[in-house]
């Protein structure tokens, strides 16, 4: 396939069957390989769409500085797009994210402001809001509340899935900014309402939930729970176990959050088998495993990997 530039090649990712992990010919699992986007994650879609919409409505003009709170992937996607389009990018990132993410951001020319590990991405959002107040001329695209984030999946990811697999019964994705699920959820509600929308949310170590009080909790402004049918919390042990199964059985080398998503997808598959129902379950491979090698999730026993992930933002 030929494209005029790297940015034009975002999206249009393969949907591949999982012949070994699918429980039966009637209950099949399919992986949407979002790691095959230009910077290796699903966030290329949201980042590019947020920039395009901001350019169109005049918020983003040549020479602008973009500011964004991100635990990594969105920052990396924005950094690539900002470099090609000539914007400066400042990312606010929790200090407990992997070393690879910091290096990748620097490679694409982004500047990073660290936020404290305690409180995870909540703190990054808070720090970014402070920085935005100090620099009113900077443009915060704000993935947690920007409708263009969900729009990327409403116009891209979900219609691609339906076109490739008209018999789809379940769509399973990770819940972070909620953009993937909100966009795909809305698309399927409108175009194939019987598709079940399933969220897999990473459950981190206690450090990440170390808020000072409950009012510091955070629900992304994009989130609309009527667009989701069920939501699962998946801890590092299940995520690591599944990400290794995906590699062993199907040869797919995915990031740790994809293990959590696969865990939820396999739960749906088991339920369909029990109920004697046909199912075509699509799940999102959010990124590849490369950026997480230094976390130690891919070596040693599952116990060791689980221990190493304690306190890290692994998704």
């Amino acid at each position: 396939m030929r494209y005029d530039s790297l940015l034009d090649s975002v999206g249009g990712t393969p949907l591949v069957g999982l012949p070994h992990l699918s429980p039966s010919p009637d209950v099949r699992l399919w992986a949407k390989l979002e790691d095959q986007n230009p910077t290796g994650s699903v966030k290329d879609r949201a980042a590019l769409k947020m920039i395009e919409v901001a350019e169109k409505d005049g918020t983003l003009r040549p020479g602008c500085t973009i500011l964004e709170p991100t635990s990594g992937n969105t920052g990396i996607s924005l950094a690539m797009a900002a470099r090609l389009k000539g914007y400066r990018l400042v990312c606010v990132m929790p200090e407990n994210t992997s070393a690879e993410r910091k290096q990748l951001l620097a490679m694409w020319g982004a500047e990073t402001v660290s936020s404290p590990a305690q409180g995870g991405s909540n703190q990054a959002v808070r720090v970014a809001k402070q920085v935005a107040a100090e620099h009113p001329d900077w443009v915060m695209l704000y993935q947690y509340g920007n409708p263009a984030n969900a729009l990327a999946h409403y116009e891209g990811t979900a219609p691609e899935v339906l076109a490739d697999l008209p018999t789809v019964t379940h769509f399973v994705a990770g819940l972070g900014t909620t953009g993937t699920l909100m966009g795909a959820g809305r698309f399927f509600r409108e175009n194939k309402p019987e598709v079940r929308i399933v969220a897999a949310e990473p459950r981190y170590g206690e450090l990440v939930y170390g808020l000072r009080n409950l009012d510091e909790g955070f629900v992304p402004e994009l989130y609309d729970e009527t667009l989701v049918d069920s939501r699962f919390s998946v801890g590092p042990r299940d995520a690591v176990r599944r990400v290794r199964e995906l590699l062993d059985a199907e040869g797919i080398f995915a990031g740790i959050s994809t293990g959590a998503i696969l865990h939820a997808a396999l739960g749906q598959a088991a339920a369909a088998v029990t109920a004697g129902e046909r199912a075509d379950i699509v799940f999102v491979v959010a990124d590849g495993g490369w950026k997480y090698l230094s976390t130690g999730a891919y070596e040693g026993t599952v116990d060791e990997a689980e221990e190493r992930l304690e306190g890290q933002l692994w998704a």
Binding site: N122, E201, L211
Partner: protein, 94 residues
Amino acid sequence: MAVEVRIPTILRTYTDGEKSVAGEGATLSEVIEHLEGNHPGIKERLLDREEGSPVLRRFINVYVNDEDVRFTGGLGTSVSDGDQVVVLPAVAGG
């Protein structure tokens, strides 16, 4: 029904620092009432009132066997012997 209830750091002032406490009840509502009996004050931190009825606070998520109860019947979600109830504050991802 005897269940295990996991308490987040921020609410452990009510459980003498215990990470995990024993719970009793057939529904999540009953488990929270039972919890309140042993750890007075905790219910107020978990529940809010909406149009006169109790609901989970906006920044509180509760999972029974890893599934978010907001999609399984809310406070009416049934629990069985040996289930695990996890309480967590809502945090940002991405």
